[in-house]
């Protein structure tokens, strides 16, 4: 067995791989199920971006909180939300994470520190500041992490939050998942600065840019930032440059993309392939070990879909619960 050159031990690497595979399988399956017409509503897939959420979440525990985006499945899985509950939720079933009331864009599990996917772009940034504030008051060393896309990085709520986090010296981290597009609009058109490090600097925040398809780059940069925040060193911004395998939402024809763009990124920039090749080439993990995980993951997702499909819808009475009904 060769020496492990990675910042994680073998178990950690396998865990990371399992998380990324689970996300990928979850999303690929949703893509297919959606195409069949079985899945209602808007579905935004995280496939291709797994290294970002996973590399960050590997540093977190349940008392750390994250506020996610409309593209939230990957964040949920990496943060430990139950995959069957998630699938059930996406199918609108009573056994779903939110008892069928939330759907894909609103999966949450506060007990796991997952404050919710969010249909409103940028809205998670203030929420993460709040989580960080709560951690600060409790003195429990927790952090609050907000995810936004390149598009949402132009939202006032996000921008204000950078300043607020700095003013209050919060253990808050702002992750910009820059996949180059906001729906059909290129980042180059809509974000009027080349580097997110500069945008962060405009609010007195340290910023770091990493290749978000490189799990290890994300893992290490996030580790440092999170450690500093836990120790009272204040907020930071982390940009992960990454790629989106599928369209903005399911149904998107993606004609705004360059010719061959998707094929290229699938072949050359698949973060899971890159990760696997690295750990196998380094001799730390054997391909069959990964394949064993693939099988387990496949089984998990098969079961999740089967369970979700078979599960009952919420009872009509559910319409009027979980809210003060004044009328």
């Amino acid at each position: 067995m060769s020496k492990n050159p990675f910042p994680l031990d073998k178990q950690g690497l396998l865990e990371a791989y399992r998380t990324m595979r689970t996300i990928r399988e979850f999303e690929e399956r949703l893509h297919n199920e959606f195409a069949k017409g079985d899945i209602p509503g808007f579905v935004h897939l995280y496939a291709g971006e797994e290294a970002s959420g996973t590399g960050i979440m590997m540093h977190l525990n349940d008392r750390d909180r994250i506020a996610s985006t409309h593209r939230g499945h990957g964040h949920c899985i990496a943060k430990g939300v139950d995959v069957k509950g998630m699938m059930g939720e996406i199918y609108g079933k009573a056994m779903g994470s939110c008892r069928g009331k939330g759907g894909s864009m609103h999966i949450a599990d506060l007990s796991k520190g997952m404050m919710g996917a969010n249909g409103i772009l940028g809205a998670g940034a203030p929420l993460a500041c709040g989580a960080a504030l709560a951690a600060k008051f409790r003195g429990d060393g927790g952090v609050g992490i907000s995810f936004v896309g390149d598009g949402a990085s132009n939202q006032g709520m996000f921008l204000e939050s950078l300043n607020l986090a700095a003013v209050w010296n919060l253990p808050a981290i702002f992750v910009v998942e820059n996949n180059g597009y906001a729906e059909s609009t290129s980042r180059d058109y809509a974000v009027a600065v080349d580097s997110y490090v500069d945008r962060a600097a405009g609010f007195g925040l340290p910023g770091v840019t990493v290749d978000g398809t490189d799990f290890f780059a994300v893992y290490e940069a996030a580790g440092e930032i999170i450690k500093r925040a836990r120790e009272g060193g204040g907020p930071a911004l982390l940009e992960c440059k990454m790629i989106r395998f599928f369209g903005h939402f399911e149904g998107d024809q993606q004609t705004y993309r360059g010719k061959g763009e998707v094929e290229h990124i699938r072949a050359q920039r698949d973060c899971i392939k890159l990760f696997s090749d690295k750990v196998v080439e380094a001799g730390v993990i054997k391909r069959p070990e990964l394949e064993a995980i693939d099988k387990e993951v496949l089984k998990l997702i098969d079961e999740a879909v089967a369970t979700a499909k078979a599960a009952p819808m919420p009872a009509p009475a559910e319409l009027l619960t979980d809210v003060y009904v004044a009328y």
């Binding site: 609108g92 759907g103 409103i120 772009l121 809509a190 004609t255 705004y256 360059g258 004044a326 009328y327």
Partner: protein
């Protein structure tokens, strides 16, 4: 020449014709062109649901994609309107109003009054409303009452392609800010629409079905549910008069009051939540102005006082149904 076209096409045509007629009309929003800055097709999207598709080819840079910054670009539309343009800004979903409401209700709506009549702000905000799309709590709201409450705003919500075209043209020509609400579930619905340009005046409700027993007042997608209810009731010889308000502010009280004076019975149907809603607004007005004509208590059929649930099983019972509307009408007949 009238043809059957969808509400989506009718809106597209109204924008096209007004942009052709008036060079001060500009259109902006997120991905309303689509593909900006990228290597693929321009006009790839034409809006999230394809409503503005094709306009870029004809009008070029007068369609402007925006960053994801609703306050900034809707405020810019308001500012440009105060400086002589007639911008049409798209707020993709009305649910996003919470990030840009100030520019709408404190700026656009108040300029004319606050500046002593010395400003006008002819801006149109096109926005998608309503449920039934399984789009969950933050992409399915109606929210028309919030805008109707605000003085200085005009609020429009068409139920069909013909009205959509004529009302949008009127909205663009109007000198006040207009919130133009497009129900996402009606985009595909077709009706006869003349090719020529025409404007439908604000504050003129449409009696879409005449009847002498019960008046049903509503707007948007609920017009179709009300018509279904009326068809059901007709089988039992209950004749409903169905009124499509078309514009919520200004609102055509005369048509509503005239009808209730005839029928003596009223059902107010609203896809919005019940409290401080269009339904309660209409109910209040009628009970005050047509008190003596009322033969029985007004009934309201609205969404419940809950967020919009995701699950189809719940959303289907969340939305007012033809059955519920019919039951309410029957109730007015029973008393």
């Amino acid at each position: 020449m009238a043809r059957k076209i969808s509400m989506r096409q009718a809106i597209n045509e109204a924008l096209d014709q007004e942009m052709t007629r008036d060079p001060t009309v500009i259109v902006m929003g997120e991905d309303i062109v689509g593909g900006m800055g990228g290597e693929g097709e321009k006009d790839a999207w034409g809006g999230a649901l394809g409503v503005t598709k094709g306009l870029y080819a004809k009008h070029g840079d007068r369609l402007m994609d925006t960053p994801l910054s609703e306050s900034a670009y809707i405020g810019a539309a308001v500012g440009a309107a105060a400086c002589g343009m007639r911008p049409v800004a798209e707020l993709m979903f009305i649910d996003f109003m919470g990030v840009c409401f100030d520019e709408i209700f404190n700026q656009a709506a108040k300029f004319r009054y606050m500046f002593g009549g010395k400003a006008q702000t002819p801006v149109v905000i096109r926005t998608m409303v309503g449920g039934g799309f399984r789009a969950a709590a933050q992409h399915s709201q109606m929210l028309t009452p919030l805008f109707t409450h605000i003085p200085g705003l005009k609020v429009v919500c068409p139920s069909n392609a013909y009205d959509a075209k004529g009302l949008l043209i009127q909205s663009i020509r109007d000198n006040d800010p207009v919130i133009f609400c497009e129900h996402k579930n009606l985009y595909g619905i077709e009706s006869d629409v003349p090719q020529e340009s025409y404007a439908i005046p604000f504050g003129e409700a449409n009696v879409v079905r005449e009847g002498k027993h019960v008046t049903i007042v509503t707007y948007g997608m609920m017009v179709h549910r009300a018509m279904d209810a009326a068809a059901q009731l007709a089988k039992d010889k209950v004749e409903c008069e169905v009124i499509d308000l078309r514009t919520l502010s200004p609102i055509d009280w005369d048509t509503v009051l005239d009808s209730v004076e005839n029928t003596g019975r009223l059902v107010c149907v609203d896809e919005a939540h019940p409290r401080c809603s269009i339904a309660s607004d209409v109910s209040a007005k009628v009970s005050q102005e047509a008190f003596k004509s009322l033969k029985s208590a007004i009934q309201m059929v609205t969404a419940p006082h809950t967020p919009v649930p995701f699950s189809s099983a719940l959303e289907d019972i969340y939305l007012p149904s033809a059955e519920k509307i019919a039951a309410a009408a029957r109730k007015t007949m029973a008393n």
